[in-house]
């Protein structure tokens, strides 16, 4: 009896599928199109009626079980923590912007500084035309650097961090080198200018130049390290 019922369902479905395939092929099409697959049927089609060949709507899965108790464990918001997170995000966004501006300003300072060096010591005619630009860019990049560092130092730490060698550690080490470089650059630049005309001027200017490149390199490493995994 059960097999007869199953057979009736299968034959009914196949027959209806074939009929629909013929309808879809259209009159005079000249070729057969494959019948669409029969959908799963949970109950027999009413006799004499056309079975519903549309796929059944995806019902939401039955999730009325609980294998873990309070699985999500949501807690009430902590306003103090959320305030710290918001402050940190704002300050670190500012830090990123100021940091990239510092990198760009330092690049310009190094380029103009090299032109200034060549003008004064490498047969450029000692016109001094690059010096005001170099000086202005140098103080500007130092101010940007100080502001970027201050924003980072003022950012609260709402979630404690694990101490390990990672991109942030390399960034901080690079910025420590850059900080020392910025201070040394300013000191050497002023000293070189004060000893203008003396035998030491070129040595001091050369040292200032090297420190400038190292500082720029440290800034580049500090920014670029975040592109690493």
């Amino acid at each position: 009896m059960r097999y007869a019922f199953f057979l009736a369902i299968v034959l009914g479905t196949a027959g209806s599928s074939a009929a629909r395939a013929q309808e879809q092929a259209g009159a005079g099409a000249g070729h057969e199109s494959p019948a669409p697959p029969a959908p799963p049927m949970s109950e027999p089609a009413p006799s004499g009626g056309k079975p519903n060949l549309e796929p059944p709507p995806a019902s939401p899965p039955a999730l009325n079980f609980d294998l873990l108790g309070d699985a999500a464990g949501a807690r009430p918001p902590d306003p103090a923590l959320e305030r710290k997170v918001a402050q940190r995000r704002a300050l670190l966004q500012l830090h990123q912007g100021l940091g990239l501006a510092t990198l760009a300003a330092t690049a310009a300072t190094v380029i103009v500084g090299q032109l200034d060096f060549d003008d004064r010591f490498r047969g450029g005619g000692d016109t001094g035309r690059y010096h005001p630009w170099h000086k202005g860019l140098a103080y500007g990049s130092a101010a940007l650097f100080a502001a970027a560092g201050t924003a980072a130092l003022l950012a609260p730490v709402p979630y404690p961090k694990k101490l390990q060698l990672d991109t942030a550690t390399v960034h901080k080490a690079s910025m420590a080198v850059a900080t020392a470089g910025m201070i040394a650059e300013i000191a050497l630049g002023i000293a070189a200018r004060r000893s203008a005309g003396s035998l030491h001027e070129r040595d001091l200017a050369a040292a200032h130049q090297v420190v400038g490149y190292v500082t720029f390199g440290a800034l580049g490493v500090g920014a670029g390290v975040f592109l690493l995994p």
Partner: protein
């Protein structure tokens, strides 16, 4: 008096260390597996010029096979436990996912595996069993539908391993995507689960 106190202390310590008990009683004829040590849950996230992979080993959960072959699964892991090898990045992830407020990411899903139906002791399939799980992922306090194709391989003693990978949208879960050098990370993350399953004795 002293032994009684010691026993009470031991019982309290055991209760504290045990995984949370299921709120539902296991139906007759069902088989329950617990997530065993060695299980991992990971995310893969595309960021500027690199990919981030964070892994946690603090996975807990259960899978229950009912007598009709229905598979019920609940898995969770603390959001704060994902380790990407970069403490700064992990702290940032805790910030954007509100890890203090929404401490767990939870997968709750059902599927069908008639070949697994049967009481404990039933012969387990030699071939991998593929189950299409459908359910929801609760992340950042937001539940969203999820579909996860799972492959289960059985070993001796009804122990099994289950593997799945499925995508998740950060914005769909209300997570503000972090930006690196003003470029936001990808919205789509891939969740990878490698779960060791051990049968639970009722």
């Amino acid at each position: 008096m002293l032994p009684a106190a010691a026993i009470a202390l031991l019982a309290a310590a055991t209760a504290a260390a045990a995984p949370p008990q299921p709120a539902d009683a296991a139906p007759t004829g069902s088989l329950t597996f617990a997530i065993a040590p060695g299980s991992t849950l990971a995310y893969r996230l595309g960021a500027t010029f690199h990919e981030v992979r964070g892994v946690t080993h603090e996975v807990e959960g259960r899978a229950r096979v009912l007598s009709d072959g229905t598979v019920q699964v609940m898995v969770r892991a603390p959001v704060a436990s994902f380790d990407s090898g970069n403490g700064n990045r992990d702290a940032h992830m805790k910030e954007v996912t509100d890890a203090a407020r929404f401490p767990f990411v939870v997968l709750k899903a059902v599927g069908s595996a008639p070949s697994l139906a049967g009481p404990a002791g039933t012969a387990v399939p030699a071939e991998p069993v593929r189950i299409a799980l459908r359910g929801e992922l609760i992340f950042h306090g937001v539940a969203r539908p999820v579909e996860a194709p799972v492959e289960v391989r059985f070993a001796e003693g009804e122990r099994a391993t289950a593997r799945t990978t499925f995508p998740v949208s950060l914005t769909a879960h209300g997570v503000e995507r972090p930006a690196l050098l003003f470029v936001k990370v990808d919205d789509r993350i891939e969740i990878e689960a490698g779960l060791a399953l051990a049968p639970e004795v009722p």
